[in-house]
Every structure is written in structure tokens, then in C-alpha cells.
Symmetry: C2
Subunit: 160 residues, 2 copies
């Protein structure tokens, strides 16, 4: 059920090249960015969670919503929050309007942590990626992956 009737068509050399270049360089890139963040005791995933949370009004957001935005499962977010809570970056607050729910709230300390990490993370995105792209490249990239994202959001993928 994953894909529809299998197109028997193999990838042609051009496609193959695009695919392999993309997949390999991306892996390297993500690894490098993760490594760069280590100094701040953050992984890309945690950074993403905190970044999203810090954008929310009051730096406060329902767990489910946060999970959705940061593209992690609820279960994973829950576990991760426990760790970040111990680190003093976030805390939980219960929700009065829906008493099943709870809020993730970023603490001042958490805010400080991400503000401190951000410049070096941005520099890292620059060093590792942007510096190697022309303006034209950036536009191409945005165009391609924007379209891709739209298409992929259509095909659904369940998150537990």
C-alpha cells in the first residue's frame, strides 16, 4: 500500500545522479550541523522544538501542537520534554480549558540557552550550506523543496 503500481522504470543516469548527490550531501550536512550544535548541548531535534516553542505567544504551546510543528511524535516529545525539563529549559503547565491537555512552556533559562545557541547555529548553517550557494541556487532550492513539501503533505504519513 505504500506506493501505487510499481513503475518498472529504473532511474536514468541523470535522475540517479540527482538522487545520490542529494541524499549523500544531505546526510553529511545534517551530521555536520548536529555536531556543530553539540557544544550547546543541543541536537537539531531539540533545537527545532525549542525554536518553535520560542516563537509561540508567551513561549507557551500545547504539547500536540508543538509535536506537530516540530515534526516529532507525541511520545518522543513527551520523553524529550522530561530531559529538557530536568535541564531547566522548559516546564509543563496544565491546561484549564481542556484538562487532558498540558502546555509546554519555555523558561527564561531555556530562552537564554537558545538565544545563546542561535548565532552559532546560524553561522553553522552559513558555513556548511549557504556559503556554497549562489543567490540563484538558493532560489532554486527554495522553489524545489517548497513544491516538494506541498506534494508530500498531500500524501499522508501518520505520526503516532
Amino acid at each position: 500500500m505504500a506506493t501505487k503500481a510499481q513503475a518498472p522504470k529504473w532511474l536514468n543516469p541523470r535522475e540517479m545522479k540527482a538522487w545520490r548527490s542529494y541524499i549523500i550531501a544531505s546526510r553529511r550536512l545534517l551530521d555536520a550541523l548536529d555536531t556543530d550544535l553539540e557544544g550547546h548541548d543541543l541536537s537539531m531535534a531539540d533545537y527545532e522544538v525549542l525554536a518553535q516553542l520560542s516563537d509561540a505567544p508567551g513561549r507557551k504551546m500545547r504539547m500536540s501542537e508543538l509535536a506537530e510543528l516540530a515534526m516529532v511524535s507525541k511520545s518522543r516529545l513527551s520523553h524529550r520534554m522530561k530531559v529538557m525539563e530536568k535541564a531547566g529549559w522548559v516546564r509543563r503547565e496544565e491546561c484549564e480549558s481542556d484538562r487532558r491537555g498540558s502546555y509546554a512552556v519555555m523558561t527564561d533559562q531555556g530562552w537564554k540557552a537558545i538565544v545563546k545557541a542561535a548565532p552559532s547555529h546560524v553561522a553553522s548553517v552559513r558555513n556548511r550550506l549557504m556559503d556554497h550557494l549562489t543567490v540563484k541556487d538558493q532560489e532554486d532550492l527554495a522553489k524545489i523543496f517548497d513544491r516538494l513539501q506541498t506534494e508530500l503533505r498531500g500524501q499522508f504519513i501518520n505520526e503516532n
Copy 2:
């Protein structure tokens, strides 16, 4: 030591857009591809290992070399091999020329497994990615990520 002196420059909107589109769509794409492979009891990582191994002469390769090509750590490959060995897809053979070393060898059963998975994986790459790209896009993509890969290989990242 991760990055050199921090460029204080923030990302401009164009850069930000390129970056976020890329990172989010990539995550979705990789997730989708992994999901598509589940039916064959393979992860992208395992597929990559087997694919590399199946390309080697005699479908046989030194562990370290395989780890390098498939971009996994030696330790991880070692653990993974244990699992795939149990599944009957690979076996180990000792190396006479260097008696510290050993070969990873793909079994017939492993070959069958990957041959069986390949068409649907390729179809999946098509459905999820290629079908949404024009020829021009493919060329742009290859160009960008080729360059990126070269640059990133220069900046070193240690793998244990």
C-alpha cells in the same frame, strides 16, 4: 572549534526560506521513503548498506570500507550486521591477507531481498521525489549537492 569566528550575520528572508523549505521537506521525504521500505523489513540505512555491498565485486567487502561507503560508523555497522546475519542476508568471512579484518558477504538470500525491494524503492523515489522535479530541477539539484558534498568532505567530521 566547530565553526570559525561567528559571522554575526543573520539569515536574510531568501536564505531563511531556502533553508526551512529544504530542511522540512527533506525530513518529510526521508520519513516517507523509510515508511515505504518498511514492507520489505528494511530501513534506508540497511538498504544503503546492502546496496553498496551488492555493488562490490563478489558482493563482498571489508567491513571498514562498507562502513565508509554507506556512511555509518563501524560500531553501528557491526551491530547491524549481527541483525542482518540473523536474517540470513549477509555473513562474515575472515580475511586471510589481513587477519585482523573480516569481510561482509552478501548471501543469495540477501541478494534476493534487495532485488525484491529495489523496484518498489525506486518507484518510491519516483513518487516521492522525481515526479515532482523537472529535468532542469534535477540538474540544479545534482549541481548544488555535488558541490556541497565536495565542500563538506573538505571540512572534516570524525566518524568513530
